[in-house]
Amino acid sequence: MVKFLMILLSVILVNNCILAQFLGICPFLGVSKKLDSAVGMGVAVTFVMVLATAVTWPVQNLLNSFGIGYLQTVVFILVIASLVQLVEMLLKKFIPSLHKALGVYLPLITTNCAVLGVTINNIDYGYTYAESLVNALGTGLGFLLAMIIFSGMRSKLEGNTAIPKAFQGVPIVLVSASILSLAFMGFSGLVTL
């Protein structure tokens, strides 16, 4: 139980997937302009991460038992892509309200490096099935947290005229991300696994 808690704390705060590991930067910078879309994206990513881990962990064991563990990259990306498609279709048919909230973000997540990154990390760290699921959940929550904080920061940047001309637009967003990342560095050393 303590191990689960440690993994959660570690991936949410210390090794935050965006701010410390640089996974999933595209959606972090692209979809964080408004709080609504930031939350939607964060929840969708968390959902897909847990689901992808639940499927890829047994798949890796299957590959290993045939001695073809090196096909990991090819198999994982295909599993994730088809899983995302399947989930989208199922949601559309059975839970339209959820599809309306998350559906937009699902196709984008197929090629999100955070999702593939988590599933590969779970194997590399040698986590058990339960630990992998907790790690995926934690990484997703960390992603959500960073998205929410960052969308708040970006709303303050909107229409700010004090920004030097060269830094307007993209650079100032990156500088803000840098400062947020600096804040999260304060957590380093909090948890050691």
Partner: protein, 232 residues
């Protein structure tokens, strides 16, 4: 001939994938903590990009339109696995330090983006040139960024100490995560400054920059995100 040369050179400066098109941000930020890591990442991605561009261009009339993205992904993932094996066998130190980001070349926006936007519509030779140009542009940008972060963050030049002052008082933070965002911001700001903001047309990160934009329900997406990226 000038046309062919244009295909090769446009990726290096005018449409540099990292600094102008703002694609492939994850590996850019994560692997540039030193110059050698940045260059290693760039060269690996270039190899995958050239090979996948050639194969996808060869297969462009065979792959059915509806399932093209899974097909592209399989081709790219296959080459990534090859590169992974080569790095593991011949440069194990680089393999260790790049780690997770080697398999993640599969989801690099630049590679899938070039497959979708260029290789699926152009001849084999042109696609190979395009891959080479984009790859060189990516490698150069990563190398320069890695060099800046290494000189300030560790006081070394490709692992060799430069001068006592820098080596003894390294500004560690530049080599760590916050420095990655900051150096990238400064490089884009510098380009903005020297070209009076003309070079980088994209003023915001948004859906349009993503390679998946063509595939995902873009109209719905753009509407949902309140016009974000619609004009880019």
């Amino acid at each position: 001939m000038g046309n062919k040369l244009g295909i090769l050179t446009k990726g290096i400066i005018k449409e540099n994938p990292v600094l102008i098109l703002l694609l492939g941000t994850c590996p850019t930020l994560a692997t540039t903590s030193s110059a050698i890591n940045g260059l290693g990442m760039g060269v690996s991605a270039t190899a995958v990009l050239i090979c996948s561009n050639i194969v996808i261009s060869l297969l462009r009339n065979i792959i059915p339109d509806k399932v093209r993205i899974p097909c592209y992904i399989v081709v790219i993932a296959g080459f990534v696995t090859v590169v992974q094996f080569i790095l593991q066998a011949y440069v194990p130190s680089l393999y260790e330090s790049l780690g997770l980001f080697i398999p993640l070349i599969v989801v690099n926006c630049i590679i899938l983006g070039r497959a979708e936007m260029f290789a699926s519509k152009n001849s084999v030779f042109d696609s190979a040139l395009d891959g080479m140009g984009m790859g060189i542009g990516f490698t150069l940008a990563l190398g320069v960024m890695g060099l800046i972060r290494e000189i300030i963050g560790a006081g070394t030049f490709f692992g060799l100490p430069i001068c006592d002052f820098l080596t003894e008082n390294p500004c560690m933070i530049i080599a760590l995560a916050p420095g990655g965002f900051f150096v990238y911001a400064c490089m884009i700001a510098a380009i903005n400054y020297f070209t009076n903001g003309k070079a980088i047309k994209k003023k915001e990160f948004g859906c349009a920059g993503c390679a998946m934009a063509a595939i995902c329900q873009q109209e719905k997406c753009v509407k949902e995100l309140d016009g974000e990226g619609a004009n880019a």
